[in-house]
């Protein structure tokens, strides 16, 4: 592979990876705080894409579409948490997981009923020009994705580091019980976490819908699973980890395909996942867990 191809593939990989990262953030934050693998998250992402599409079809521009999709997913995610996870918070660990699988089946079927199983095209909302920068080509849509993803991730980092709610989130993820004893409204913090994750996923959904020009009810399944892998590879519970993991996975996949291993591509992603887990169980940026006796 020559340098030009490599660079071009890197750009492709980073674009793909940043969409994984946007979804992965939701997984990682929720896991960090209540140790739940939120299976319905991929479907929230799918809902985001559909809402964004609906707004665009009403004639709005892409920014408004992203904004409305964010709001809608925020409400949906908070409702899901309230209805399906909160009653199970103190029960066995697998209970909310099963509940989230139930929610996921529900959402997928609902959207199949409402919108049909076929992929729906996304109208061209931005004029897609291809720029040549040095050796590589990059399109307007790719630039939008990279910029929006970067802005959102920096924004998220600011929210977590600078705001009172962010501090409460960090405290809660350290130790939920202690945090509640310290007077932190844990329920509000958890709702907020779900909301933040949903907002990121919704943006991801609209961007992916626009980039790949297709939106369909099962789009969250594989994307969700991959993003979840990205979160684990990066170190689940760690926000920068999710970003790094997403980019890492995106680039690795694209390079794998470029190397002619296309039909084994999913195996590459999961093989990487297993390797990372075996040699660095807490992920690339995760806190190593101390064995407590």
């Amino acid at each position: 592979m020559d340098l030009q191809t490599l660079l071009q593939q890197m750009i492709n990989g980073i674009t793909l990876g940043s969409t994984y990262a946007l979804i992965a953030l939701g997984y990682t934050m929720v896991y960090g705080i209540i140790k739940l693998i939120n299976f319905a998250h991929g479907d929230v992402y799918m809902l985001g894409a559909f809402v964004g599409l609906a707004v665009v079809l009403m004639g709005a521009n892409i920014w408004l579409a992203i904004f409305v999709a964010m709001l809608a997913c925020l409400c949906v995610a908070v409702t899901i948490e309230r209805v399906a996870y909160r009653p199970l918070r103190s029960s066995i660990r697998l209970a909310p997981l099963i509940s989230s699988i139930g929610v996921s089946i529900f959402l997928q079927t609902l959207m199949t009923l409402l919108k049909g199983p076929q992929p729906v095209g996304f109208p061209q909302v931005v004029t897609n020009t291809i720029y040549t920068v040095g050796l590589v080509k990059i399109s307007t849509v790719q630039i939008i994705i990279l910029v929006v993803a970067a802005v959102l991730m920096i924004g998220l980092q600011l929210v977590i580091k600078r705001t009172k709610m962010g501090k409460a989130m960090r405290a809660t993820s350290e130790d939920l019980r202690t945090a509640s004893l310290m007077g932190i409204n844990v329920n509000a913090v958890i709702s907020f976490t779900f909301a933040l994750g949903a907002v990121m996923a919704a943006a991801g959904g609209v961007l992916v819908g626009m980039y790949f020009n297709s939106v369909f009810p099962l789009m969250g399944v594989m994307a969700g699973l991959k993003a979840f892998c990205a979160a684990v590879v990066g170190g689940i519970g760690s926000v920068p980890g999710a970003v790094l993991g997403g980019l890492f996975l995106g680039v690795a996949e694209v390079l794998g395909v470029a190397a002619g291993l296309g039909s084994y591509r999913d195996a590459i992603a999961f093989g990487l996942l297993i390797l990372v887990l075996l040699f660095r169980p807490s992920g690339l940026l995760g806190q190593p867990e101390q064995r407590k006796v």
Binding site: T5, Q8, Q9, N12, G13, T15, L16, T109, T112, G116, P117, Q118, P119, V120, G121, Q124, N128, I130, K137, S139, V208, Y211, F212, N213, S214, F216, L218, M219, M222, E253, V254, L255, G256, V257, A258, G260, G262, S263, R265, D266
Partner: protein, 390 residues
């Protein structure tokens, strides 16, 4: 506390017995459908990954049944469709097939995919029920038994015809071949193209694999962009096809794509937009209201009126499957599968909405002609009508 748990456990056990009771108790064949009808079963997915093929098939079937019943039914009886959903799962495919058979269907139309058709075919053959698949194109389907038929355009007939056209009329010499490796249809079709390309002395200069469900093809297309070729042969489905071509144009390549009827759906241009302009798709059925004539035109109009969209290949083949069965029943003057499977076998030059069908000596359908369609201004236009030589 103890009391409560105990009560729950008892309730649970009772529920369990109840469920078992429902399942085993009413073992007979009480299906709730009156006896003086001829029942045809629909086997396909209404939810899950294959719903996009199942739903149009069912729509086409319903239209056929309406037409038959409006014309006075079959052998003086009304035809009804018994439908159920296997949510794209093989195991449920078997369950639904069994269920349809217990409900007394004489024939089953489906499944649109080769895999589940094979599962269902084994069961139907065992139970002596005719099965006509309105979508299976893979190998080894009708070989399962003499009750099993299909009314699809077989790629092993179409691929050589199309390859010949590409070479002789369009002057292609070098092609890129793109296969979706988790799609049985695509893997099979690529194999057929490899053979026929070889036969006509054309060269495959690049091969790329994709997967169904992929949305990002930048890596594959970047790899293709290093090679020189006249066109892309894409054997996957329309969703990936449209997105793939988008990426091809995004990376500044100007070749067009040729593919099988897996690409045939409006989704192709909805997703691919300008990028699929000029791409070609071969099919045994073309929903072209301007170009169509006779039966086909009538079907297209009725379908559009009823469902608000143009019928696709699955809809047309679903319609034809029901009609084939109906005509066989008429010819046999009996709705007994053992009898009308024989008349079905003798189908020759039968005019359907999806083309002319003859069942050959191996009971495989020979469909002619093959339509080569081209995407033009966000719609299909017939580029060539290629006869199939038998």
């Amino acid at each position: 506390m103890y009391r409560k748990t105990k009560l729950t456990a008892v309730a649970v056990i009772v529920t369990l017995l109840f469920l078992f009771g429902i399942i085993t108790g009413c073992g007979g064949g009480n299906t709730g459908v009156q006896e003086d009808t001829i029942k045809i079963g629909f086997l396909g997915a209404k939810t899950g990954g294959h719903a996009a093929y199942g739903i149009p098939t069912l729509n086409g079937m319903k239209l056929a049944v309406e037409d038959i019943n409006a014309a006075g039914g079959l052998l003086g009886q009304q035809v009804v469709i018994i439908e159920d959903d296997h949510r794209s799962q093989s195991s449920e495919g078997a369950t639904v097939t069994q269920k349809l058979i217990t409900q007394g269907v004489v024939a089953i139309v489906g499944d649109p995919t080769t895999g589940i058709t094979k599962i269902a075919a084994e069961i139907a053959q065992g139970a002596g029920v005719v099965l006509v698949s309105a979508g299976a194109v893979g190998e080894g389907v009708v070989e399962i038994g003499d009750y099993i038929y299909r009314d699809t355009l077989l790629d092993k007939l179409a691929a050589p015809v199309v390859t010949k056209y590409l070479k002789e009329e369009l002057g292609w010499e070098k092609v890129a071949l793109v296969t979706s490796t988790n799609n049985d249809y695509s893997v099979g079709l690529s194999e057929l193209f490899r053979t026929s390309l070889d036969e006509y002395g054309m060269e495959i200069v690049a091969e790329q694999s994709i997967q169904d469900g992929d949305q990002n093809f930048s890596a594959q297309v970047t790899a293709l962009s290093k090679k020189e070729f006249d066109g892309i042969i894409f054997t996957g489905y329309y969703t990936e096809g449209g997105l793939f071509m988008k990426e091809v144009r995004a990376q500044g390549l100007d070749q067009v794509m040729v593919g099988g009827d897996g690409l045939l759906a409006s989704v192709l241009w909805e997703l691919g937009e300008d990028a699929v302009e000029g791409s070609m798709v071969y099919t045994g059925f073309a929903a072209d209201p301007e170009g169509a004539t006779g039966k086909t035109l009538e079907f297209i109009n009725k379908y559009q009126e009823k469902y608000g969209e143009l019928p696709d290949m699955f809809a047309a083949q679903g319609y034809d499957a029901v009609m084939l069965i109906a005509d066989a029943i008429k010819a046999a003057e009996s709705a007994d599968p053992a009898k009308f499977k024989e008349t079905l076998r003798q189908t020759t030059n039968w005019e359907g909405v999806s083309g002319t069908i003859t069942f050959g000596p191996d009971r495989e359908p020979i469909k002619s002609p093959v339509y080569l369609l081209e995407v033009k201004d966000g719609g299909w236009a017939i580029k060539a009508v290629l006869p199939v030589e038998i």
